[in-house]
Symmetry: C2
Subunit: 236 residues, 2 copies
């Protein structure tokens, strides 16, 4: 069974944008929205494409419209840490540094709303409501980062995988996903690099969770059989 995620949504203008309700622009009124629209353009990337790379000049901000991206940092010797996955509504560029702090690439096809750094900075300069919105998103990101640190530093492999599944389920729920099947558009290697594990350990842990009746493994996703157990592991 093939599991898909947020396919087929389309838009015409900012006002009826699919992520209007939870993206950066949620804070704006109609007039501002029009002005912002004039600063943005939609871009698409296909599976695997790199949207921007760590340490290159940060010329743009992005807001995700459709699809999922992996955000990661590389060590000189090639070790990779995925610091997060970006979903529709997520804003990229919060760090505000002149170079990108991490790389981002598309997992599956993605559609983004692109803004020039300078343009958006000028737009926001004197709009407290917009700035507060940015703060809100940054705060949320910071909270996620803090929880991720606990996961990476203090949890076992099994707890890591369970936390990831629960966290992913909750994020998808937050953008309106329903259904008893949890799509996992990223591969095992991405999950491993997100959790600070190897692909083999992730695979073994999935198998163990399935053997224990906590999940069922499907192609492209899983199904949570024993939610309580998974949540316990994830909180533990």
């Amino acid at each position: 069974m093939k599991v898909s995620l947020l396919e087929g949504s389309r838009w015409q203008t900012c006002a009826d944008c699919a992520v209007r309700g939870f993206a950066v622009c949620a804070a704006l009124d109609k007039t501002e929205l029009w002005e912002l629209a004039s600063l943005s353009r939609h871009i698409q990337h296909e599976q695997g494409a790199t949207v921007f790379a760590q340490a290159t000049v940060a010329t743009s901000f992005f807001s995700v419209l459709e699809g999922v991206l992996r955000l990661y940092k590389l060590l000189p010797d090639g070790r990779r840490q995925i610091i997060g996955f970006a979903l529709p509504g997520d804003f990229l560029g919060l760090a505000g540094s002149p170079q990108y702090e991490f790389s981002a690439d598309a997992i599956g096809a993605v559609t983004l709303c692109q803004f020039s750094r300078a343009g958006l900075a000028r737009f926001g300069e004197d709009r407290p409501r917009f700035l507060r919105r940015i703060n809100e998103l940054a705060g949320r990101e910071l909270t996620r980062a803090n929880e991720h640190m606990v996961l990476l530093g203090r949890r076992s492999a099994e707890e890591k995988v369970a936390s990831f599944l629960i966290g992913w389920r909750d994020r998808l729920a937050g953008i309106g996903h329903v259904g008893e099947v949890l799509p996992l558009p990223m591969g095992r290697l991405d999950i491993a690099d997100y959790l600070g594990l190897t692909i083999e350990t992730v695979s073994r842990t999935f198998t163990k969770l399935e053997r224990d009746g906590v999940i069922r493994i499907l192609t492209g996703g899983i199904s949570l059989l024993d939610t309580a157990r998974a949540e316990a592991l994830s909180a533990a």
Copy 2:
């Protein structure tokens, strides 16, 4: 040899505050500074005191004036992850959530500038310059968090310790610390919980680095003998 850190600095008004140049208030002009001062009060905490605890109602924001705090999250079973150390100039409360996301306690004596949540929120509400300053600090914090994730997920014990030392050196340098001795006001257990290791592993790794001529261990700090080597380990 006892190593001390930022002892003895005093202030009278916000205008000649010790952290005036790099705290939140750096963005404010004289008039605003006076208004902000009326919203704040100085508080002190002694060694080991908890300033605020995870999951309690977040009634205040804080700006660190003197001393060092550890910021940490606890798992139900007592495992602890230190997500960062707060130094003079650091602002606490960026997450903006109604409950504190983590606990903070004093390592040694600390002096803080305390603001009521509501008061500061009102103050900032319509001051873009202040909001942008908050954004800047949040961005910096986010960058640090991202790097911390790489450290926790993808580095060996030796690399972790070296990264910690280099990072700590740079942060102290950033607030004006000079001298060839690097003070470490936090204990080994704090370092372990910051790096996602056990105290024994941290201790062993310090010893190894000393044996290899990279550092010299002093009471309350270290001295970096082979900076290049330490930096190499830290970047690796």
